[in-house]
């Protein structure tokens, strides 16, 4: 005798209770604090802030803890919270030229005004597992030097002074800022929306697309003009006060790619730009973003659109990992009503096939 499946409600509750238990792990092991996460897993926190589109180290750390270290799940938690926040307005554009630099490198010049500053980086480390780090390792105090008063102009600005690189589009202070979280995206999309989409995009997806351009699928001959990481001031124009007030500082990574030049009968040839920007220290992300940004400018620069990385509809529709993971994983939901419908059709087709084949030898004999 059959009784329809019941008790899903209790099953869900119990599953979530078990999840909470598993999340905590062995209770003999001390619980992680949020400070441990945002201090010691800082790059994971940066990624969650960048793709979650919310600059809050503590909430990002909470999300990582709640998500058991699954960063896409953590990004999802942050996004869902962000979506409910009231919008007061947009800040003034941040000036990365005035960044408090912690790291800044250029691969296009041996030396640059203000110097190459390596800062905290995995570059040039040997990737050997370090047993010392397993427990109780006390690192040396970092080396320090005099604070330089030198200006740190952006490398692209140096090239721009001689007209060797196309100018950045001029900011229009009164133009509304495009926001794909508030307005549905439509194609073709302008560069501001494309950059917003890329800034929120999955790092792995951008990495693969950027890599594909280097391997010939929409090649655009990039040089890492400059990568800089540090703090910038964020200012908000307060209507009441009548001037911009500082809200605080955020850490940003900016990558400016210098790409193959273009010119025409009427325009002198010059390098073109690809741009990447993300919260925190996110070099892989911003470099990939800059490669893909440049690729997506194919239409604007009169290049033939042939590779996936040049196809804005393809890139922008599939770059968001919260959307992608939701839809891929929704296949876990029950689909038995539709499956039943397909099953019915397939059985009918198979029956007709069998009937047709059964009568076929006779037909052949008749022929």
């Amino acid at each position: 005798m059959y009784v329809a499946v019941k008790g899903g409600e209790r099953a869900i509750e119990n599953a979530h209770r078990l999840l909470a238990h598993e999340r905590r792990g062995d209770r003999e092991v001390p619980e992680l604090t949020l400070a441990q996460i945002y201090e010691q897993l800082a790059l994971g926190v940066d990624r969650v802030m960048a793709e979650g589109s919310l600059y809050d180290r503590e909430l990002a750390a909470l999300a990582i803890k709640q998500a058991r270290g699954d960063l896409i799940e953590a990004i999802f938690l942050v996004r869902a919270f962000r979506a409910t926040l009231p919008r007061f307005g947009a800040t003034e554009p941040v000036d990365t030229g005035r960044m408090q630099i912690r790291r800044r490198i250029s691969s296009t010049f041996k030396d640059i005004p203000g110097g190459q500053i390596l800062g905290p980086t995995f570059d040039y480390t040997h990737r050997l597992l370090d047993p010392q780090l397993a427990e109780g390792f006390v690192p040396e105090v970092p080396a320090t030097g005099e604070v330089s008063e030198a200006e740190m102009p952006r490398v692209t600005d140096i090239l721009g002074r001689d007209g060797l690189i196309e100018p950045s589009p001029q900011a229009e202070p009164d133009a509304p800022v495009g926001d794909l979280t508030r307005e549905p995206l439509s194609f073709p999309a302008d560069r501001d929306l494309r950059l917003q989409n890329l800034a929120r995009a999955d790092e792995g997806f951008l990495l693969a697309l950027g890599y594909s351009t280097q391997r010939g699928y929409g090649r655009n001959h990039p040089f890492a003009g400059e990568i800089r990481f540090g703090e910038v001031e964020v200012e908000f124009f307060a209507e009441d006060a009548g001037f911009a007030v500082p809200l605080g500082a955020i850490a940003l990574t900016e990558c400016q790619m210098v790409n193959q030049f273009k010119g025409s009968a009427t325009e002198a040839p010059c390098f073109t730009r690809g741009y990447g920007l993300a919260f925190g220290q996110s070099e892989r992300k911003t470099m990939s973003m800059a490669l893909v940004d440049r690729s997506l400018r194919a239409r604007e620069l009169g290049e033939e659109v042939r590779a996936p990385a040049q196809d804005e509809e393809f890139v922008m529709s599939h770059s968001d990992n919260v959307q992608a993971t939701g839809f891929v994983e929704h296949l876990k939901l029950p689909h038995y009503v539709d499956f039943q419908s397909e099953l019915g059709l397939l059985r009918r087709l198979r029956q007709e096939f069998a009937e047709a084949n059964a009568s076929e030898p006779l037909q052949e004999a008749a022929e």
Partner: protein, 294 residues
Amino acid sequence: MNAPSYNFAYLDEQTKRMIRRAILKAIAIPGYQVPFASREMPMPYGWGTGGVQVTAAILGPDDILKVIDQGSDDTTNAISIRKFFGKTAGVATTTLTMEATVIQTRHRIPEAPLHEGQVLVYQVPIPEPLRFLEPRETETRRMHALAEYGLMHVKLYEDIARFGHIATSYAYPVKVNARYVMDPSPTPKFDNPKMDNCAALQLFGAGREKRIYAIPPYTTVVSLDFEDHPFKPYRFDAPCALCGAENSYLDEIVTDDKGGRMFVCSDTDYCEQRQAEGHRGRESAAPHKERAHV
């Protein structure tokens, strides 16, 4: 830390107003997909975020909400969404189709006829009926604008040429108000006739794809077909094993590993109502047990 707090039915009022505008536009142009600025919801994309946003935007404190998935009030995702609104809106919930003012559904239309004043909210994964024929949104929007639906008829014709039937058994395309070809969401085509001239308002929400569309009450909805291959809803030819219904959509239940099968109503409320009225099927047990509840 900024401790989060949430509005009635989760979404803030500005967002609800934006969604309501999209809904009004959708009702004004039946079957047309209206873009809207879909928000991240606290459940994953593909799990009903479009339907949840539509429901959140139309729900009032006096509404009575029913949520079904695969026709059942008791499937895990239906429970999860019902609990979500129970928690964030505090509205009354029900499993009775007749009693509900708002019914959110995934993959089914209830068997009991809907009445005026009810709203059926569909969860939609891919709102574009032409998507699998043409992946580009820029192209499909143009095709809708020009009512250029030849490609869809060619696809249906090719099915007939290859299989002898139109090989689409769910998400079967319909034409709404003699204008827009529309995806009914992945409901089995058995349910398509219920959309036609329906007394209730039908709203469709696709969260990930950021589209809302609608069928106003008493609108003509026609399933696409050919004169010599007319549309036929599929139903397994058996009565429900629990309530004996001869006209309801059935789930196939595998009862053992020796080919044992039984068929029962997919619409659990419909089946329970019938059993309560004394209808019995071949396998019916004692009067139905535990109801889904919140």
